[in-house]
Symmetry: C2
Subunit: 212 residues, 2 copies
Amino acid sequence: MARTLASGPDTDTRERILDAARELFVAHGVAQTTMRALGARLGMTAPAIYHHFADKDALVRELVLADMSRLAAAFARAARVADPVERLQSIGMAYVRFGIEHPEHYRFLFLTPDAKQGLEEEIQCRMNEAPEQDAYHLLQVTVAEAIENGRFGPLYHDVDRVSQICWATVHGIVSLHIVFSTQPWLTWRETSVTAERMLAAMTHGMQQGATG
Amino acid sequence: MARTLASGPDTDTRERILDAARELFVAHGVAQTTMRALGARLGMTAPAIYHHFADKDALVRELVLADMSRLAAAFARAARVADPVERLQSIGMAYVRFGIEHPEHYRFLFLTPDAKQGLEEEIQCRMNEAPEQDAYHLLQVTVAEAIENGRFGPLYHDVDRVSQICWATVHGIVSLHIVFSTQPWLTWRETSVTAERMLAAMTHGMQQGATG
DNA sequence: GGGGTCCGCTTAACACTGTTAAGCTCCCTC
DNA sequence: GAGGGAGCTTAACAGTGTTAAGCGGACCCC
């Protein structure tokens, strides 16, 4: 009863599972997506999935790592700006766009730490292998360049701290957008405009007392 | 077999359930806390809880609303600063302190929207009843005062947008702290210091072209 | 060509979750 | 003392992720 026509050796259905899982996770969220529903979507039963993935977490893990690479790629595209401070704003906006366009991806990349429990080593390994794919590293490099060029004031000379400030800035607006923009008790302003003004104010504010 | 000694009419065990639930939720998270475990902690079975609360969500809901009042109280204390811009920084730091000291409370107040699904009307109602307990409203009022006093530049004259910028700033650093500060692949800087510098840079940056 | 083996899948089942239904016990009231 | 209800119990249901056992066809080697 197995398929007789060729469709790849065995990695094919594995890919099909990943695609369907991403689709359902993005559409209805990870928790609401049941293994049985995922199996039904693929025309097979739930336990069949366990022949390709250890468990549900492994599925989530694989998608998370893929999305991190995708984000890093968007970063690399946004990083082609000469001036380091302008570059910070550029990759900041790339981050915001990623969050707005892929809210469910963003949610389980940056909003659900439980989904990544025990994933730290793998992330670290992956980053050591391909540092150019490490989004945080790119941020650090850009911040370091800005600091070396004397663009920031004396309170903003710590590369890690400034990197975390920049990250927190865009992460704040994106996660508020995802969680609260649909709430009726506040009149939400368009996220991308707010993000631009935030980045402008933040970078300007950090130039207080700059030497360059 | 029920207790014969007086311990209040019926609101007593209700309170005991709430206290135990808060404790377990904070310690292990909402999802990991099972109704049976909560019952065992109280020396009774899980279904007994349903005589006091409709379901698990009702428990979460009650705790969420209580915590929002607690946050609002911290805000009110922090709002006793004359200068509106300094006041913004003061309530911002109160927000950050709340998040650092009660990470699990913060998590299900601001990081897990699903927990509050269908809670919007109740929040809105509660806020209309006691607007002085509405933390966001306090933020808006402070921002409005700063704008009226000409403290912010022309790009930062929209009360809602500036309020959301301020909220996003502190929310960003707090939620990064909660989700990522323990990750080994980044050297996390002390959150409260970073938050202070963020607020300083943000408020300074928004004064670009201010008239007052 | 025939037998062994393994891959991909199915059915059945387990342990666990939140939740509901039925019933039991004690206390209060009349 | 009978009625009734509050507060709890045990039993059970539907749903979850996950595992165990078995079946059918494809492949390989003799």
